[in-house]
Symmetry: C2
């Protein structure tokens, strides 16, 4: 690493980050500007910024390639920045680094930072433990309001949030109560801190709780921060509302992409490499293609019927897609309801009892439209469906009821099945459901046709 390249760039950095209106540029804007640059260029600029500004930029999860930028900087400088950055963020950055860079940089961290980061990195990803920060404000329950306020003033700069203050039992160190800063300032200095503490139970998480559940708790109780408590009752850290918003966005992007029938990209659309994009999409596309091959097998099975009644093939795409569409509706409803906690695994039969009549009604509506089309086309002479056209119409009508009902049920049950198998219910994508329904749909269609048309067309 050539340190000499930094000095000549100071002018560049200054021009880049202040513009005309000195001081009027926010951290978020600085992050955006850095994201537009190469890693090495961005690292060079970050290295020339005052430490406080650089730390604020480094703290943003929106900053691209932050780990690579740290590797690109002189190690001592990188360590200085990391010592001043929130521990949960440092742990995230370390996760993104290669083994070598991590070990090298880790040895240069402050002892307290190193211990906290090591601790945080021990929790499985996507748990409360892995997204929490250990830098929270805590005071013994024996303190007064005045003592607490004095302490908050002192540590304010080094804590992610000071709006929730955790009161610990002076002997056991267990979490006794929570005081919000807004309530704290209304207290009399000489009163005990517990006099302004929250009434009622403390909402808490254990370190292995999933980040989705953490987000749900924070949302449900309108919290600014949620304390994470270990098995021994000791407080390990807090998850703040900012972290939860970032988590929610990432989760929902993942869910949306999975529902579209692919692996989650994990990066912005324009940032992922071409090879990465192909990898994330080709897997599911091939799996769905192989599944859908069963439709060719089903068609082969009914080849005799197809030859006798070519008119049946005309409606194959129409009928199949209707099943897929109703399935896609049901799946999107259930995935979302499961994600929001509106439904639990044990609710599957209540959903079944709703989807069955819904599917029948929707299928009947489409069936009537389909029947009307055949009657209309036949009678105004747009197409000749043969002498048994009215039977063809009934076949379409009955098949649509069966297929749309099957689609609704398959689409609504698939997320439950996946959740039961401990897979992500969000993997029940629209294409997955469509594939599932297509094969069965063909079998339903030809079976109905055999029943109705046997002796006439078939």
């Amino acid at each position: 690493m050539n340190i000499n390249r930094f000095p000549p760039r100071v002018g560049h950095a200054a021009r880049f980050f202040t513009g005309d209106n000195l001081g009027a540029i926010t951290t978020a804007e600085r992050v955006e500007r850095l994201n537009a640059l190469d890693v090495s260029e961005a690292a060079a600029i970050l290295a020339t910024l005052p430490q406080q500004k650089a730390v604020r930029i480094l703290g943003r999860p929106e900053l691209h390639n932050a780990a690579a930028m740290l590797r690109d900087m002189p190690t001592d400088q990188a360590a200085r920045l990391l010592n001043a950055t929130a521990n949960d963020r440092v742990a995230d950055l370390f996760q993104e680094m290669g083994e070598d860079a991590r070990a090298h940089l880790f040895s240069k961290l402050d002892r307290t930072t190193a211990l906290a980061v090591q601790h945080l990195m021990g929790y499985p990803p996507r748990t409360a433990g892995s997204i929490m920060t250990t830098e929270f404000v805590s005071v013994p329950a024996t303190w007064t309001v005045g003592q607490t306020l004095e302490h908050v003033r002192k540590v304010e700069r080094s804590r992610e949030t000071v709006y929730a203050i955790y009161v610990l039992n002076a002997e056991t160190q267990a979490l006794a109560s929570v005081v919000t800063l807004r309530r704290l300032i209304t207290g009399e200095p000489q009163d005990p801190v517990l006099s302004v503490a929250q009434q009622g139970g403390i909402v808490r998480a254990d370190p292995l709780m999933t980040q989705e559940d953490v987000a749900r708790l924070i949302r449900k109780h309108n919290l600014l921060a949620l304390p994470v408590i270990g098995e021994d009752g000791h407080m390990l850290g807090i998850v703040t509302v900012d972290d939860v918003i970032d988590t929610m966005i990432a989760d929902q992007t993942e869910d949306a992409q999975k529902f579209g029938g692919m692996e989650a990209l994990g990066k912005p659309y324009m940032k992922i490499s071409f090879a990465g994009m192909i990898r994330k999409r080709a897997g599911w596309l091939c799996a769905l293609f192989l599944g859908e091959m069963l439709t060719a097998s089903a068609m082969q099975h009914f080849e005799g019927e197809l030859e006798k009644a070519i008119v049946l093939t005309l409606f194959v795409p129409l009928i199949m897609s209707s099943g897929g569409n109703s399935g896609s509706q049901a799946t999107s409803l259930i995935i979302r309801a499961l994600a929001l906690g509106e439904l639990k695994l044990s609710d599957w039969w209540r959903v079944l009892v709703r989807e069955l009549p819904t599917g029948i009604v929707l299928g009947t509506i489409l069936g009537l439209v389909g029947f009307a089309r055949i009657v209309l086309w036949q009678n105004i002479g747009l197409f000749d469906y043969g002498e048994h056209w009215i039977l063809v119409g009934w076949t379409i009508f009955a098949a649509l009821i069966g297929i749309v009902t099957f689609g609704s049920i398959a689409g609504s049950m698939l997320p439950f099945v996946l959740q039961r198998l401990r897979l992500d219910p969000a993997s029940a994508s629209a294409p997955f459901v469509a594939t599932l329904v297509d094969v069965t749909g063909l079998v339903i269609y030809f079976s109905v046709a055999l029943m109705i048309l046997s002796g006439t067309l078939l």
Copy 2:
């Protein structure tokens, strides 16, 4: 309204809301318990609770049928509760009420509450103006830290948040700066409040900004509250991070359901009526069905070819679904990138330039798999595709490249087209894209078949 029914229920309410562990039940839990009851039963219980508790419950958007419960209560009591509830929430509740109940209750509100609510209700739904609260903390720029802190202590109970304090120009009343409570308490009492104010520009919204953009700003700058400024430079209100989280969840549920191919339910899955469910799903299902009817028309058009080469029909579902699946992937990627602001309308050509080669590569992969299947089945004797089986294989191969490429492009461009037409890009659902691609897919398939098989099978 029979007031006599309330008193005998007090015992019920007390039992219902305290249990054994007095005081240990949170507002969120109370909301959940009320949600499990009938409207009239819930209203009766709400009416018997101490005002402070009832107001906290009423403030939660998760509470079902809150407007109906207020209608069910004695008007004076409902008005007392509303006077003590955050103005933005009152405005939301009024939006949910019928014209009559609204007018009746409105006349009983405090003058200040009534004015603020009327003002809020004047903004179009889903804008910063409609989700903001007018109850924020503001102080003149001439005040000291001590004066400001004293003021915050006094108004703390009546404000949704006191963590952001807005400093107004004493003469023009324009927003001059923002002070966070955490910085305020670190200041010396006699220093001017501006000495602890935030450096740099103030992030702000105008009242007609969409709630999605408001959420994006709050997320981007990690704010607890965002000030909303009118055209004349006066501060109108604030949007808090809680409101934004609620908004984000609602938006994402809506987007997920739209992507599934239906209208957004607007209510939890188990809460919507059967007729409501049918209405929200039948519309799109019928529209898609009508669109998909074009496949029947396309098939009718190629009936001659179908009769000559029945082998072609076997692969119709397989080929069509591949186009739909690749389209669904592309659409989910682009909708999400547009929602997150990663892509802008003007980026459409950059996306096109990415999706074209992506589609070609993905199509080639599927084409090879399809070709291999035909060769394999033919040679191990699972099915006889006729003497020209190798040409059938090439047809499938070439058609898949064309269809998957078309699917990727149509799927990625549809959200841009919808956004350009000022429609919601999230309406580009997986079934919508599949329908779009199915019709074109058939035409591509038969055109390729005509080119390759002309003179042999066709």
